[in-house]
Symmetry: C2
Subunit: 353 residues, 2 copies
Amino acid sequence: MAAAVSSDGLGQEVPNKRVILKRYVAGFPTEDDMEVVTGTARLAVPPGSASMVVKNLYVSCDPYMRGRMTKHDKASYVPDFVVGEALVNFGVCKVIASGHPDFKVGDLVWGMTGWEEYTFVPKPESFFKINHPELPLSYYTGVLGMPGLTAWAGFFDVGKPNKGDYVFVSAASGAVGQLVGQFAKLTGCYVVGSAGSDEKVNLLKSKFGFDEAFNYKKEQDLDAALRRYFPEGIDIYFENVGGRTLEAVLSNMRNHGRIPTCGMISQYNLEEPEGVHNLFEIVAKRVRMEGFMVFEYYGQYHKFEQDMAGYLKEGKINYVEDIADGLEKAPAALIGLFTGRNVGKQLVAVARE
Amino acid sequence: MAAAVSSDGLGQEVPNKRVILKRYVAGFPTEDDMEVVTGTARLAVPPGSASMVVKNLYVSCDPYMRGRMTKHDKASYVPDFVVGEALVNFGVCKVIASGHPDFKVGDLVWGMTGWEEYTFVPKPESFFKINHPELPLSYYTGVLGMPGLTAWAGFFDVGKPNKGDYVFVSAASGAVGQLVGQFAKLTGCYVVGSAGSDEKVNLLKSKFGFDEAFNYKKEQDLDAALRRYFPEGIDIYFENVGGRTLEAVLSNMRNHGRIPTCGMISQYNLEEPEGVHNLFEIVAKRVRMEGFMVFEYYGQYHKFEQDMAGYLKEGKINYVEDIADGLEKAPAALIGLFTGRNVGKQLVAVARE
Ligand SMILES: NC(=O)c1ccc[n+]([C@@H]2O[C@H](COP(=O)([O-])OP(=O)(O)OC[C@H]3O[C@@H](n4cnc5c(N)ncnc54)[C@H](OP(=O)(O)O)[C@@H]3O)[C@@H](O)[C@H]2O)c1
Ligand SMILES: NC(=O)c1ccc[n+]([C@@H]2O[C@H](COP(=O)([O-])OP(=O)(O)OC[C@H]3O[C@@H](n4cnc5c(N)ncnc54)[C@H](OP(=O)(O)O)[C@@H]3O)[C@@H](O)[C@H]2O)c1
């Protein structure tokens, strides 16, 4: 594994498989918008620099990446990907060269890395050390990483749940949703989830302990379905999908209901997003709809990691992931998020080691 | 004024002019949906009852009354009016008979009364005493009454303003809007209002101290107008109108912006409400959109009344009202809210005295 240092001090040059963006996307992305190519990487850092080089073990597939595949005129909340360059996203990595005092060769870390075998990291400060390597390392792309913190912050800090609340979660079997449902149960709430297949619905009830679950693709009338599952109305709607689902939920909110607004995946590929027509419900029911971004909670990450590692070890939280093997499978895994092909948290194993 | 008690103990029977609902409304209401008729009233309360009879001095015209003119299958947040009965809404009244220990003949009060000359009030507890009769009594339908408390609660409690915030107010010259703008200035905010005529725009700048104001009917592109007035974006949008205005605002919110969601008057008469297509901005900008209802703040009314009476006497708050003379004018005054005919707070003088 250790790379022989080359004469110019920049380390051995090795082949580096990468998934690059081939073109900016409008509408639904396809595998063809990306390409798996082989470049090169240097396995050492420039002398005197505080950078590092990491070997990528697992990279995460996350819905927000869709936004980065489009060219924006006005800066978005996150930078656009660069055509011809590797995609970037959260991953679990091993440090193989470092000039940074806080990171040493062999450290296991997670942070924003490339969809490639080796990544040069100019600013290692944004990476987190992995404090629980006894748990599966892949968990740091999900339950112990960004999506886990998202579920935790969104449900507890934004949702402000009370025991006995009626909670609805959309995209409920996904990375974020499966955890929100289990947090709701730990809090003593009644929780119902929706998902896009019977297999997922089954998982929600049998594995994640949702009180009820339904396949939204089989419901002609989502409003009627929600009335059936929530005769008293909904106190907390954890919003993952937006559009028509949000509209149906708004009609079923209770007074003082809360909508932690995490994402709207049903809208990410539409060139003309759907309209929501019943926002007056926000006034009539005194609803609080509040957006949040996980990156504003990174300051609380270590507290979260500790709590979550505890829950996992005690068996209080179950977790399901969907692992694609090898960077070759990464483009299909990413676009599969938008058709619901993933069952549980989608990630890519770059190198199991 | 004192009515001779009749032999049956129920007081003199007098003619009672009333504005009744003629039929339930769909779409835009017309004067013809109401009718001014003459009934009768008794000017005494049944012996032993804790009810009261009031003489109505001023009644208020409020947008939310539109909802009460429609028959709802599912209970709304406020009861539907009854066809053939007088409309009911907030008014300023004089007690002319009372069996209630807290209210005596001659007291000036405000509360939920009828659109008629005399109203029998079975439960006087919901009425507030008027503590500042030295100010114009009509103010208790507005700046010292329900709309004043609405502006105060929505701006301060829901909006959570900070000095220096960029504030946008729609329907800005109306009962609520004119006060929100002035609260914003008292807080040290930058405030821009929109209204539907040049006369109103002028009033916003000259009388209410808005930093800027514009006539939304003259703007082809509301989004562009908002970008012009808020190059840095909007921290607080006080939402009075909904629909396309909300959509344009969402694109111009700043990170952590707040939308105290007070009402959506542009939607009240539409059989198919407009869709809002860019709700993902709530996630991207971490916006809090929160509905509220003034009736949840009545417990703080006396504190509010005292503060507001002080502001008015010190000249810190200006106030403009639009008074229709006599119940005959009430139907036109009410429907005028939906075409913007009112300049300032719309009310009806039933009897000046
Ligand atoms: N605010 C933040 O900081 C933050 C952070 C992380 C994630 N998020 C958001 O959280 C949400 C969930 O993310 P995740 O990582 O947990 O993804 P995920 O749920 O693991 O995967 C996406 C799932 O969304 C569902 N879906 C796709 N298209 C849909 C559509 N048109 N209508 C309804 N459902 C659809 C699919 O499940 P079905 O089979 O059930 O349809 C798919 O499996 C996303 O909106 C994401 O953008 C936000
Ligand atoms: N949540 C609560 O507890 C509560 C309490 C009181 C009031 N409210 C709400 O607060 C808002 C303002 O009420 P208010 O009493 O102060 O009324 P107001 O502003 O005095 O009168 C209504 C004004 O709305 C504007 N308007 C009418 N139709 C419109 C449209 N299609 N698009 C844009 N503007 C339109 C008109 O002004 P222009 O000439 O400027 O168009 C009209 O003068 C309403 O939405 C009301 O329902 C809520």
